[in-house]
Amino acid sequence: MLPKILMHIFVGMNRSLLRGSLETIVIKLLSDNNEMYGYEITQKVKEITADQFKITEGALYPTLHKLEGKGVLECNTRSIGNRFRKYYSLTEAGQTELAIMLQDMEDYIKNMRLIINPQLS
């Protein structure tokens, strides 16, 4: 029973950490890959992190739509065989946002390291 609870807490923490970083992940991937579609983003994250990070659809699409609304992303829809696919790419504002987000993330990681391992500082 106890390990299950611990596991749950651990998975929960992991998810909330991931959710907090989702915008940065999406923007960085789009910057590296020019344009991507929703499912491709989930797969790319799994591939890069060797299955450690799994972005759920329920978290990804709201994030994509939020960023689109902010003007960070733009999209276009193209036919792929018997269906249509929506591709997302960064706008100019998105490129600026990326630089800020990456700097914020690096500062955050640096500070977290200081807190977790104070002897290393």
Binding site: Y39, G58, N76, T77, N82, R85, K86
Partner: protein
């Protein structure tokens, strides 16, 4: 090379998405592509996996609320998009060269309200109401905002109409407010300036609501939603 789902399977996915209360056609397209991509991937990993089983596994990854959160977020993102366009239009009149037009209109209205130059304030009020009625008539004939189809079937047009529908209220509110508080004969110096700014904003909105915003929507539909073949007048 990945195997694509058949036409029938895609049709099945649309039916499935509709059964999960996704009524907006533009959202259905987005979800169907996601489900189809995930199912194709699963079937590549396990060739014996049936379509129905794969669909149930893929849908299982969505939250218990199904697609509801996704629709809500998309809806607020689209609303934010239209608000930004609206603000962009209004702010445009605070910069050169458009600020000259706005300034001229404000000055002209001030002359009318304060001195009764050119026409009387009462005639001005009647002109504004007439313009608002003409705009409504024009949009009723050539527009699309009274169409139930655009309000209910597509999230992109639905959010446009719900946002700009709110703006419509101010066309009549301003002149009504204007007529209710005065005898429409004379206004004080400061009062006439304030009313001039207010009425200029309303006039610019009237123009935008009739001609500019519908064009903006048409452009948006052409660039991003051409696959939906939404026909606006």
């Amino acid at each position: 090379m990945k195997e694509q789902l058949s036409e029938e399977e895609i049709a099945k996915l649309f039916k499935f998405v509709k059964s999960k209360y996704v009524h907006y056609i533009d959202v259905q397209y987005e979800i169907v592509d996601h489900l189809a991509s995930a199912i194709e991937e699963k079937q590549i990993d396990s060739a014996s996996l049936s379509f129905d089983r794969a669909l149930s596994e893929v849908y299982g990854k969505f939250p218990i609320t199904g697609f509801a959160v996704m629709i809500a977020e998309k809806s607020s993102a689209l609303k934010m998009f239209w608000v930004k366009k609206f603000l962009g239009f209004m702010l445009g009149y605070m910069k050169l060269p458009k600020i000259i037009i706005a300034g001229f209109l404000i000055y002209l209205l001030h002359l009318i309200l304060y001195n009764g130059s050119l026409i009387s304030p009462k005639q001005l009020y009647l002109t504004l109401v007439t313009l608002a009625i003409l705009s409504a008539g024009y949009r009723y004939k050539y527009g699309f905002e009274f169409s139930k189809e655009f309000r209910q079937n597509y999230l992109v047009t639905g959010t446009y109409l719900s946002f700009y529908g709110g703006v419509w209220f101010f066309y009549f509110y301003a002149p009504l407010n204007f007529s209710g508080s005065q005898h429409l004969d004379q206004f004080g110096y400061l009062q006439s300036w304030i009313l001039s700014v207010y009425l200029t904003s309303i006039t610019l909105l009237l123009h935008a609501y009739t001609f500019v915003f519908p064009k903006m929507l048409k452009k948006e539909l052409l660039e991003k939603y051409s696959h939906l073949n939404i026909k606006l007048a």
